[in-house]
Amino acid sequence: MNIYLTALSAIVKREALRFVHQRERFIAAMVRPLMWLLVFAAGFRAALGLSIIPPYQTYITYETYIVPGLCGMILLFNGMQSSLSLVYDREMGSMRLLLTAPLPRWWLLFSKLCGSTAISILQVYTFLAVAALFDITVEPWGYVAALPALLIAGLMLGALGLALSSFIKQLENFAGVMNFVIFPMFFLSSALYPLWKMAESSPLLRDICAMNPFTHAVELIRFALYLRLEPMALLWTVLALVAFMLLAIWGYDPERGMTRRKG
């Protein structure tokens, strides 16, 4: 097998093995979206009246509305968490080990991204299965159609985490990123409320939400779950993926020396 593919499959396999050994992390990652779905949404549904908007063809419950947003949330948190583990890895040295492999850095970073995205997607499907147990379902084929959307969205959010990890020198700074990246990205999006609803309160906020790549990732997933393609969302998500990936490659460029440490 070619060295590129050998390395890719080893990196993905390592992520998978680490994941298997960290069941607590998996359960913790499940609790968050399920709390939103089963508690927050239940309480909130009365407060928010939804009208029929695409891709829905009928009135839907609030729980149904936020499922794609929560899928996005899993991808977002995992993307950031895996970048947290990169900062930790870099401090602990296993990132250094990876970067001494005789392969181009962009390939190593891309492989790492594929590994973490695969784990994220597994978590999303687990979440969808649990949601289905509570009768919160989508179109049967939607589960299949969502796969490419989840892949693109997962890679995009993972690439963002990767880019951020190259700019964070120490683990402690990461808490700030959580507050300044994760929360704004999540709340300034269509994950919890449709954008027209946001526009009623503030057109400015609506415009910010419409710029947010996370909104487009969520919409891409939402439409895919109902067997529809939203071209604008796809375009935005892919563009964001390319931009974040380039930023990450630049961030990890040895000539820029962001990975250096004082000796």
Binding site: M1, N2, I3, T6, A7, S9, A10, I11, K13, R14, L17, R18, H21, Q22, E91, M92, G93, S94, R96, L97, L98, L99, T100, A101, P102, L103, P104, P254, E255, R256, G257, M258, T259, R260, R261, K262, G263
Partner: protein, 240 residues
């Protein structure tokens, strides 16, 4: 003389602070080079540059005949590295850790398995292959990391303070092991340390302090009749 590792006028600065002020040395193939320097001498910066974690525009590094700047991948392929911080996945077994690394060097299947067994045998770690890295003590974790660094049969082995945190017995055993590897397999070794008792008389000794090379020669010759640690202290003390 075949050159194992060559460092030529290497400079590096962190902002205004100059961490390496034009360091040069050459290790012939099969030499054991001890890089001795107090904390903050620039050893880790040098290792960062040698492993291409970051690069500098000033100076040149050659690994087994490959220029690290011009042919980074060929140079990295000839290099084995043991980092100062431990880099094992503690939840994975010794063998899983090693086969992950083998794959990063494009080795898989039977070829990788044979090499892994050979490397583990070399370090007397074969019977621990199935254990989780977490179950190993510090000395055995280090051995695992050395075994891992040998899987792809490198020409040059770089170790950055590999005995940090080990007890006296493990420290001695690892030091002797690597000296033996160097003597028997013709491996070029660069061993960074601040502990003089890890340096043997026939070793090539390079002393660096505050980013500059202070001494370079065979340890036995350099220390003359004196104790190596006295020699080292007088050298670095005078400069401080």
């Amino acid at each position: 003389m075949t050159v194992g590792l060559q460092v030529d006028n290497l400079r590096y600065r962190y902002g205004a602070k100059e961490a390496l002020k034009g360091v040069s040395f050459t290790l012939e193939a099969g030499a054991f080079g001890a890089l001795l320097g107090p904390n903050g001498a620039g050893k880790s910066t040098l290792y960062g540059l040698l492993t291409r974690l970051f690069t500098t525009s000033e100076g040149r590094i050659e690994i087994a005949g490959h220029d690290l700047k011009a042919q980074p991948r060929a140079a990295l392929a000839r290099m084995g590295v043991v980092f100062q911080n431990q880099t094992l996945d503690l939840d994975l077994s010794v063998r899983q850790n090693l086969s992950y690394f083998a794959s990063l060097h494009g080795l898989s299947g039977r070829d990788a398995a044979t090499r892994i067994d050979a490397a583990l045998d070399r370090l007397n770690m074969r019977e621990r292959a199935g254990e989780k890295a977490r179950a190993l003590n510090g000395g055995h974790r280090r051995r695992t990391e050395i075994a891992r660094a040998l899987i792809h049969k490198p020409d040059v082995l770089l170790l950055d303070e590999p005995t940090v945190g080990l007890d006296a017995a493990a420290r001695r055993s690892i030091t002797d092991h690597v000296h033996q590897l160097c003597a028997e397999d013709g491996l070029t070794v660069l061993w960074a340390t601040h502990l003089t008792d890890e340096v043997h008389d026939p070793d090539r000794l390079i002393v660096i302090h505050q980013g500059e090379k202070l001494a370079d020669g065979h340890a036995g010759d350099l220390r003359g009749g004196a104790d190596l640690s006295d020699y080292f202290l007088s050298l670095t003390g005078a400069q401080a």
